[in-house]
Every structure is written in C-alpha cells, then in structure tokens.
C-alpha cells in the first residue's frame, strides 16, 4: 500500500505540489489527473525517490521509499525512456538487472510479456528499428519486467491502436488482480473511468478533487438528462435550473445544475408527444474534469 501524506515540493520559492495526500491500496488502480504542469511528474518523481520532498511523508508498505524498496516499483514514463541502440533482450537484461533480478528470471518474464503483447519476433531486434507503437509495448514491458508491487503508468496508451490498447488493458488488469498498486495517469478520461476506482485531480500542485469515482460522480451536482421525442428546445431552456440544451443524433441533452430540476423537466416533457426516452445520467469524468480544471481537455 502506498501512502502519500501532506507532501509538498518547492522549486525555489514556487510550490510544485502542495499538501498532497492520497492512498493506493494493494490491487487498486488510482487515477492521478491534471493538466500539463499540474505537478503529476513531480509527484511521480517523489514517489520513486528521484526528487526529495520539501515536506510530508511517502511510505510503501509502511516503509519510506528508498533504494531498498525501489526494486518493487515499476515506472512507465510519458516520454520514451529506452536505450534505443540496445536490442529488446539487452534492454530487458539491463533494466531487470537494475531491479535486482537474475538473468534466468528476466528471460522467463520477458518471454511471457513478449508473448502477451504479441511481439515475440522483436526480442533480438534493436529498439530503434521498431515502430512507435512497438516501442511503447517494449517500454511497458520494461516497466513491469520486475512484477512490480507498485506501478506508475504515465500515459500508457500513447501511440497505440485500439487492438493494442486492449492487450495493454488485459495486462494492467492482470497486474491489479495480482495485487499490484497502480497509479494511472492519462489525458483520456474514458480510460481513467475504465480503470480507476478512486482518483485525484491536481491543479497547479493543489488537490481540487479526490476520492472514490462513483462517489465523486454522485456528489457532482450537475447531471444530464437525455430525451428523445417531440419537444421544444426553447421551452426547456426557460426552465429554471436548466444550464443548457443541445441536440445530437435525434436526442436532446439537457444539462441541469442539480437533481431537484429533474421533476420540473419531467413535468414539461410529460406534456410533449412521442417521448421514447427520458434518462437521467451521471456526468462523465471529462465533464467533471473540465468543470474542476476549467479548460478543454481532449
């Protein structure tokens, strides 16, 4: 279990991260979100011990994170972090060795992961000769070569096609089922929603939202109502509490600022004809994120 408590990091006089606290349990996938420059990379670097904290504590399984425990941690960086002149095999021997693994152990694990990601034929190829997507697969393999107890995934699906994303998803879920604590960071909110039970959103180093995703959605007052039928958009917009109405693919999307408005909308819709759909939906994570961060995200 990873525990981050009141962690602060200053660069000079500027706080990069302020009073950050969260916990990632064994077998849990935790979302750490934020726009570029929000403090995510600084947080990752502090967790794996690359950066010293200005204040606060970070513990993994009850012990401070130092070079005695980093062998149990895997880190997939957002940017490519491979020695591209090496072959996949040599790179695995090097990174696996750095994680304290024996050669036979590394080879066995490498063969398993290459097979899982369907790139066995590239084992002895130089990394620089591989396509962007295959390099990302190799990078993912290197981050989990040591069967980490804590895994940090920073934009893991970058450069992947939908088929390969599915292969990655299976492996991530396999690690979760084996008890690995995973910190997941992505700009793709659908991926975050797919994996994460709880999350935290950072804005300029400060936590603006954190907790269980389901609870966050429930607590988020703004909801959406989807209506299909003959209604007058202008009349809907005039109802107090309706934030906006849009029409797309034969459906009206009505944004309301809390659940009490649902009755008023339903009352009006009941007077209309040919109503075939009236659904009250939770907001998407993307909407919540935009609301909290205050910008377009995709």
């Amino acid at each position: 279990m990873l525990k981050v408590e009141n962690v602060t990091k200053y660069y000079g006089d500027n706080p990069a991260v302020k009073n950050l606290s969260f916990t990632v349990n064994d077998g849990e996938i935790f979302g750490l979100l934020g726009v570029n420059g929000a403090g995510k990379t600084t947080t990752f670097r502090m967790i794996i011990g690359l950066l010293d904290k200005s204040d606060g504590t970070i513990t993994f399984d009850g012990s401070p994170v130092d070079y005695k425990v980093t062998d149990k941690i895997g880190f997939l960086t957002e940017e490519r972090s491979l020695l591209t002149k090496l072959t996949v095999y040599d790179q695995a021997l090097f990174y696996g060795g750095l994680k304290g693994m024996d050669k036979s152990e590394i080879i066995e694990r490498l063969d398993y992961l290459l097979e899982k990601l369907e790139i066995q034929e590239y084992k002895n190829r130089k990394i620089k000769e591989l396509s962007k997507g295959n390099q990302q697969k190799v990078q993912f393999i290197m981050s989990i070569i040591n069967k980490p107890k804590l895994l940090i995934l920073d934009e893991p699906f970058s450069g992947l096609d939908p088929i390969n994303i599915e292969l990655f998803k299976k492996l991530i879920l396999e690690l979760k089922s084996e008890g690995t604590s995973i910190i997941f960071s992505s700009h793709r909110m659908d991926h975050v929603e797919y994996f994460c039970e709880s999350l935290l959103i950072l804005v300029k180093g400060k936590t603006v939202l954190s907790g269980n995703l389901k609870q966050i959605k429930e607590d988020f007052r703004k909801k959406n109502i989807i209506i299909e039928g003959d209604i007058e958009k202008e009349k809907l917009e005039k109802i107090k509490g309706v934030l906006g109405v849009s029409f797309n693919k034969g459906e009206y999307l009505v944004k309301i600022n809390d659940m009490s408005i649902v009755d008023k909308v339903f009352k009006y819709v009941s007077t209309c004809k040919n109503i075939t759909k009236f659904v009250v939906e939770e907001p998407s994570l993307n909407e919540i994120f935009i609301e909290k961060v205050g910008g377009s995200y995709e």
Partner: protein, 437 residues
Amino acid sequence: MNKKLKLLIKDGIRKKLNTKWFKIANIILLLIIVLLTNIDSVINFFGGDFSDPTKIYVVDNTNTFYNDLNKSLEESLKIIQTKIEIEEYKKDATKLKSDIKDNESKDIILEINKVDNEYISTITSFNYVDAITVELLTNSLNNIKKAKELESSNIDIDELNKINTPMTINRTYLNEDLDENYELIEYISGLLIPAFIVPFFMLIIIVIQMIGAEINEEKSSKSMEIIISSVSPKVHFISKIITANLYAIIQSILFILYIVIGVFIRGLITKTNLTQSFGGNISGLLTQFVESGMLHKILTCLPWVIIMILLSFVAYSLLAGILASMTTNQEDFQQLQTPIMIIIMIGYLVAILASTYEKSTFIIILSVIPFLSSIIAPVLLLIGQIGLLEIMIAIILLILTIYVLIKYGSRIYKVGILNYSGNNLWKKIFTSLKNKE
C-alpha cells in the same frame, strides 16, 4: 562490490566493446601501427629508385686508395643504413661519364689523383648526391689520406697510434647538485616527452568523451529516470568513472599489443632483434640510458608516478562526469570540455618548456597542481628538476581534489542528471551544493 554497480560497469563496457565501430576502429589502429613499425619494409616492398644501391665507380689513379676505401666503407655501412656498392674502374672514365649522363643514372664516379704530391679527389654525378654518401666518402678519403701521409713521414706505429687516439675530454661541474648525465637526460627526455604526452592526451580525451556521451545518451533518452530510480546517483556516477577508465585501460593494453605485434612482424621481416632492427643508434642510446643510472632512477619513482597518473585520470573523469551531468545534449558537453582540453595543452607546453627554463619556480609549482601535475611532473622528474618529494605533494593534492570533487560533485551530479533545462542552471548548481546527500 554493490551488485548494481557491477551491472552498470559490465553493461557500460559491453556496450562499448560490442559495437561494430569499436571493432572497426581497432582493426584500423592495428593496421596503422603495424604499418608504421614496418614503414621502411613497406616502402621497399613497393619499390623505387631507392631500392637500388648507388654504385660508386672508383677511378684510383694513385693505385693506393681503393682497397683501404673499400674496407673503410664496409665498416661504416655496418652502422649506417645506406645502400652503396663500390667498384674499381680501370678503363677510361670519359665513356663512363657519358653513359651516366645519357642514362641519367644515379651512379657516382670517384676519381682520385695525386698532383704535385697532393691528393685530389673528384666526385662526378648526374644529379645531387645524398649528404650521407658524400659525408661517408669524405670521411673515409680523409682518414686514408691522413694515414698515408703519416706512413710516408716514417713515424713509428706507437707514434701513429698516439696521434690517432682521440683526446680525452673530462667534464667537471663545480655545482655539486648537477647531474653529470644531464645532457644525455635532456636528449632522451626530448624523445620521451611526446611519447608520453601524446598517448596520455589521447586516453584522457577517450575517457572524457566516453563519460560525456554516455551520460548525455541516458539523459536525452530519458532512461536516466529509470536508472536513477533503481540506483543512487552516487553509484551511477562512480560506475561511469570506473567504466570509462576501464575502457581506457583496455584500449591502452590493445594499443601496446598492436605495437608488440608490429615489432614482432618487423623481426620476422628483417630477421633481427629489437634493437638491431631499429638501428645501432637506439641500441647505443639504451646502453647509455642504463649505464647512466637513469633507468634505476626512473624505476624508483615509477610506482608513484603511475599512482599520480591514475589519480589524474580519476580526477579528470570526475570533472567530466560533473560537467556532463550539467549539460542537456552532446553539443553542450563538447563546448564544456574545451576548457579541459586547454588545461591539457597548457600542461603539454609547460612540459616542453621545462628544459629551457631550468629550475623555474613557476613550472615547479605548476608540476604539483592537480590536472597539470600528471603531464608536467613526470617530465620534470626525468630531467632531474624535481624529486620524489614533489611527486608526493602532487599525489596528496590530487587526493584532496578527488575528495572535493566526489563530495560536492556528487551533489551537483544528483541535480544535474535529472535536469533537462538550461534555465537557472547555475542557480540550481549552487543550490545543490548546499544540499546534503
């Protein structure tokens, strides 16, 4: 030793030695060294005018010179490597001159005449004659002439020997501190300075560039983050220093091996031993070198000089590692390494000037200063301007420098290797110096 440190060193060396460019460069180096050590055989193999001996036709009109001249030249040619053949010519020289002119031949006609009791020789050739041949002929003719004149003067053999015995010249120095072998030492050091400094310079450059390239490759590929998340920056720093120096040692051993191969091939081609194959002058020089006690003196100080040179390599490597960590790409590092090159060049120039500015206080001080000491001190030691004391001082100063570089350098390194921006670089560096490890 730390398992991960071993892994980093092993991987670093393997990466360097397993490249096809290392293999190609070493094959080229081997070929060049073998060719250089056998350059005369290579030149002879391709042939040319030089491979034919110069024929000297002796027209001895006195009938007394030829035999002595033949003997004298035979003796000289045992020492001096020049191709000359001598033949007595008893016919009319006019036709011979005409043949040489028509054929543009390099043959020489030596006419010896006695006119009014005076010996007169004439050397006739179509083209210029090389200075060695002219000097050989001149010396031989003069010696024979002198012997003949003395013989005709009816001087007895003892008197003749007395006249011919060279004068004994003793050298006495009133300054008791002076070394009587100084002039020999100065001559030998003139030969040894480039032989020592050039390989040193090459190896230092190899070490500096290897450290810079490796660190920058890991930084620019962002693999540094993965490595540093598994091993401490200090272990990484030390691994880079050891790897680069091990590589330099391996390359030096290969370099020496190539020279040995070259000399061995030379022995096979010329069918002579080492000193003979390089000519009698080197053999004589080596004998003098041993007899003068210089070899003993050098061997006494050699272990300390080796320690000093090894420490200098460590100091240069640490400096290169610190500078490389501060840069974000290879181009920036190339610029930062220029001051290191200049330091080495200063050392080289001062070492050359050392024999001119004898016992210069300034040069002696420079010889104990870290980074310069490894170049200047061995030269000053060889020419007797410093002793073991100065070498020890240089070693102590180097150890202190290495301590400071490790203590403060590793703080800079820790911050530098994860810094990808040139903004506020110096501020970050100075801040890092205040941090404790």
